[in-house]
């Protein structure tokens, strides 16, 4: 059987980053092929090359046996390839119909083309179970519905090959199940599907065969029925995976942070946080587990003072915050709270600043850094050097632009900054996102050290392994609520079910 797509020795570098190293693979027609790998393994880059968003430095692409050149997405679309991106390419202020026809309007005047499109949309909805109201504004749709619009866009253009990039990253578990049912229907109708994901569960449940990528290379190909999760995980990471830290049992002390019936409602009335109750004690690590997008980001924002709660109260080291008496990040810092944000580049640092300037972000008004209205630049430089030494940030150059450091070193710098304040409460969001393995272990050990020194640590992470190895207590968030609390040694299945909203404990 001819492969629907063959990629031969594809190579791509971005500057000094060798993202894809001589990868070859072949995608069988009418099957669901999975490509699995960790963050940064090169899977998305590879598919972007196939879709014409990037140009490969070397290698060949064949569709149905014929060599093709992908100059841009229009070439891919012409070949019947459609891509559903992780970040939706939808225009909020347009209707579903307008979004679908954009680029395939069927004529210079819209009227005729949109009427035909409407009919076609209706047919596609019926055939594949992708029900959406064509006249609804995208801004009013749920995330799952928006994804269905993305799939409809692709099918509307006659795609017979569908690439889905981390489709379940933003879906609730029910929506994910619904998605996979849709994929199964598509497969029945002969559509070839490529699924990019880092979730073993999905590979095992939905794919016929799977390719494993690691650090830009294709390391293995398996038929899904002939493999099992442990083997795939090992191939993905390259060694036996069991991140177990040596941890002494926690010595929990006084309550440093308490939230009671905390709620957050946004401008549109959407309930982002719903009746959150939690307690954080000195000397323990509490982990917040959950699929990204279930309120963890908002929880961190409220706890750190960036956003005031709509209802309920938050007490931090004696100070009570509520909707009527909002706190602010500066005040929280004064009370002894430190915060390592989820997105270090967007929140935790300024890329254009030197490392020394980044090392005092949020603390720049402290007497050790500024006196008599002037910044003490020399003291700041020395302080940064000390931080770099203690946290092994490389290169040890305080004057270097922050953007020049690797992801892991940037994260270590941010962590160093927050932990050096010897805070009473430490909030950490996605501590090892985009961080290499060596730095991950270092960061984990530092967090445990901080806990042992009496700090109250809250870790929010979408990586369940990380939560399991770090946390003394685990709280699971789903749809803005805390749906369960378990002790640190809980098993993945229970947690997975809670994260899926299927079980409350």
């Amino acid at each position: 059987m001819t492969a629907a797509i063959e990629l031969e020795r594809i190579d791509k570098s971005f500057g000094s980053v060798h993202a894809v190293r001589g990868v070859s693979l072949s995608i069988e027609k009418g099957a669901i092929t999975g490509i699995i790998g960790e963050n940064g393994a090169g899977k998305s880059t590879l598919m972007s090359i196939l879709y014409g968003l990037y140009h490969a430095d070397a290698g060949a692409i064949r569709v149905d046996g014929k060599p093709v050149r992908m100059e841009g997405p229009h070439d891919a679309i012409a070949q019947g390839i459609g891509m559903v991106h992780q970040h939706f390419m939808l225009i909020d202020s347009f209707t579903v119909l307008e979004n679908v026809v954009l680029g395939a309007e069927g004529g210079a005047l819209l009227a005729r083309g949109t009427a035909a499109a409407r009919a076609e949309l209706e047919r596609l909805s019926r055939d594949y179970g992708l029900t959406v109201d064509p006249d609804a504004l995208v801004s009013e749709l749920s995330v799952g519905e928006q994804q269905r619009v993305e799939i409809l866009k692709v099918l509307f253009r006659g795609a017979r090959i569908l690439i889905l990039d981390e489709p379940s990253a933003v879906l609730t578990p029910q929506e994910t199940d619904r998605l996979f049912r849709i994929l199964a229907t598509l497969k029945e109708r002969g559509v070839t599907i490529v699924l990019i994901t880092h979730k073993l569960r999905e590979i095992m449940a939905a794919t016929d065969c799977v390719y494993v990528m690691r650090q830009g290379q294709m390391v293995a190909e398996r038929a899904t029925a002939e493999t099992h999760p442990e083997e795939l995980a090992e191939l993905m990471v390259g060694r036996k995976v069991r991140l177990q830290l040596d941890k002494t049992p926690p010595q929990a002390g006084e309550v440093r942070l308490g939230a009671e019936h905390l709620g957050l409602v946004d401008r549109r009335g959407v309930r982002l946080l719903d009746d959150i109750n939690l307690e954080l004690r000195a000397g323990e690590i509490v982990g917040i587990a959950g699929v990204s997008g279930n309120g963890q980001t908002e929880l961190l924002q409220v706890l750190s003072g960036i956003r005031p709660p709509s209802s309920g109260t938050l007490t931090v080291c004696g100070r009570t915050v509520d909707a009527g008496h909002p706190g602010d990040p500066a005040e929280m810092r004064d009370l002894g709270l430190a915060h390592v944000p989820e997105d270090r580049l967007r929140q935790g640092m300024v890329a254009a600043f030197r490392a020394s300037e980044t090392s005092i972000l949020g603390y720049h008004e402290q007497p050790q850094f500024s006196r008599n209205f002037l910044l003490r630049l020399q003291a700041v430089g020395a302080y940064c050097a000390r931080l770099m030494e203690r946290f092994d940030v490389r290169p040890r150059v305080p004057g270097l632009r922050s953007s020049s450091f690797s992801g892991g070193n940037q994260q270590k710098l941010v962590l160093a900054r927050e932990m050096a304040q010897e805070p009473k409460v430490l909030l950490v969001g996605q501590p090892t996102r985009g961080v290499d393995i060596g730095a991950i272990e270092f960061i984990h050990r530092e967090l445990v050290k901080s806990r042992d020194a009496g700090c109250a640590v809250l870790v929010v992470s979408v990586e369940l392994d990380e939560i399991l190895s770090l946390a003394d207590r685990i709280l699971v968030m789903f749809a803005g609520r805390i749906v369960g609390e378990v002790a640190g040694g809980a098993d993945e299945r229970t947690l997975g079910l809670m994260m899926a909203g299927a079980k409350a404990a």
């Binding site: 909020d92 202020s93 210079a108």
Partner: protein
């Protein structure tokens, strides 16, 4: 009744260049390119149309030249903003200043009248009123009025309009749909140049009889204010232009008139378009939401 007619006519006369410019600015901004340079485009068009009309004794050649001049400016603006991803506001400001100087420099070099062009004589060299001699309704006035429904139709009923609106909201979505973002934006910018060129030509060879230095006198900015005031939609922008035109038309008449015992200063009326726009932007009279991707250069991830 006579007074009403005269005021209506004056309103239209003043509003015509505003309407044309506003439609042009609207198209540009809906595609995501801020256009502070409407003033400069109009000025160049005014100069070249008057200069060429004087030399060729033909108003139509004048209009063609005016459009060409404005298009040249628009092309520069497009080059700076789209291809070279420069700062769009700076580009507009630069082109305004450039136009202000170039028109005088060339005007002086060619006609030695300190920047003015020779006065244009009647039929042939100027665009004359069509139906109402006292109203000054040259063909461009009707073109301006027509441009509004045409712009509306293009934006809402054509493929180009859909893509234009899309690229002003989320160029990435347009790009991944396989449509060229730069080409879309260039077309928007060139359309803007066409309309601004008509506006400038009107000022020099229909509304007046020749070019005088800095004759656009801020009308490009009032047109910009009208676009914002009209929330980037053609018909509301038309309303804003007419309102601003009316203000200008009655400004002189209101001089000396007392309102609640206070004499209304003419400068206040002159400042009203700007003040009203500020009030609108402050949210005191409704909200104005710009196209989401406006002002942001688009970079392909290559």
């Amino acid at each position: 009744m006579d007074v009403v007619f005269l005021i209506a006519a004056a309103t239209l006369r003043v509003a015509t260049p505003l309407i044309l410019c506003a439609m042009g600015g609207l198209l540009s901004e809906r595609s995501g390119i801020i256009d502070v340079g409407l003033e400069g485009k109009m000025l160049m068009a005014a100069f070249f149309s008057a200069a060429v009309a004087a030399v060729t004794h033909s108003a139509w050649w004048g209009v063609a030249a005016g459009i060409a001049a404005a298009e040249a400016m628009a092309l520069l603006h497009g080059l700076a903003c789209i291809t070279y991803r420069g700062n769009q506001v700076v580009s507009g400001v630069a082109l305004n200043i450039l136009a202000s100087g170039l028109t005088i420099v060339w005007g002086n070099a060619w006609f030695q009248r300190g920047g003015q062009t020779p006065a244009l004589e009647g039929q042939g060299e100027r665009l004359m009123p069509l139906f109402f001699p006292r109203a000054g309704d040259s063909i461009l006035v009707y073109a301006a009025l027509l441009s509004v429904p045409v712009t509306w139709w293009v934006i809402t009923r054509t493929r180009f309009g859909l893509r234009l609106r899309a690229v002003g909201e989320m160029p990435l979505a347009v790009d991944t749909a396989g449509i060229s973002v730069p080409w879309l934006r260039y077309r928007a910018v060139l359309l803007c140049g066409l309309l601004a060129g008509l506006a400038g030509s009107y000022i020099a060879i229909a509304q007046n009889a020749g070019f005088t230095r800095d004759m656009t006198a801020g009308q490009g900015f009032i047109a910009l204010a009208a676009v914002i005031f009209g929330k980037w939609r053609p018909f509301p922008a038309l309303g804003a232009c007419l309102m601003f035109g009316l203000l200008d038309a009655v400004a002189i008449r209101l001089q000396g008139v007392r309102v609640a015992g206070i004499e209304v200063p003419v400068q206040l009326i002159q400042a009203l378009p700007y003040l009203l726009t500020v009030f609108l932007l402050a949210g005191f009279i409704g909200r104005a939401v710009a196209p989401r991707a406006i002002g942001l250069p688009y970079e392909k991830e290559h």
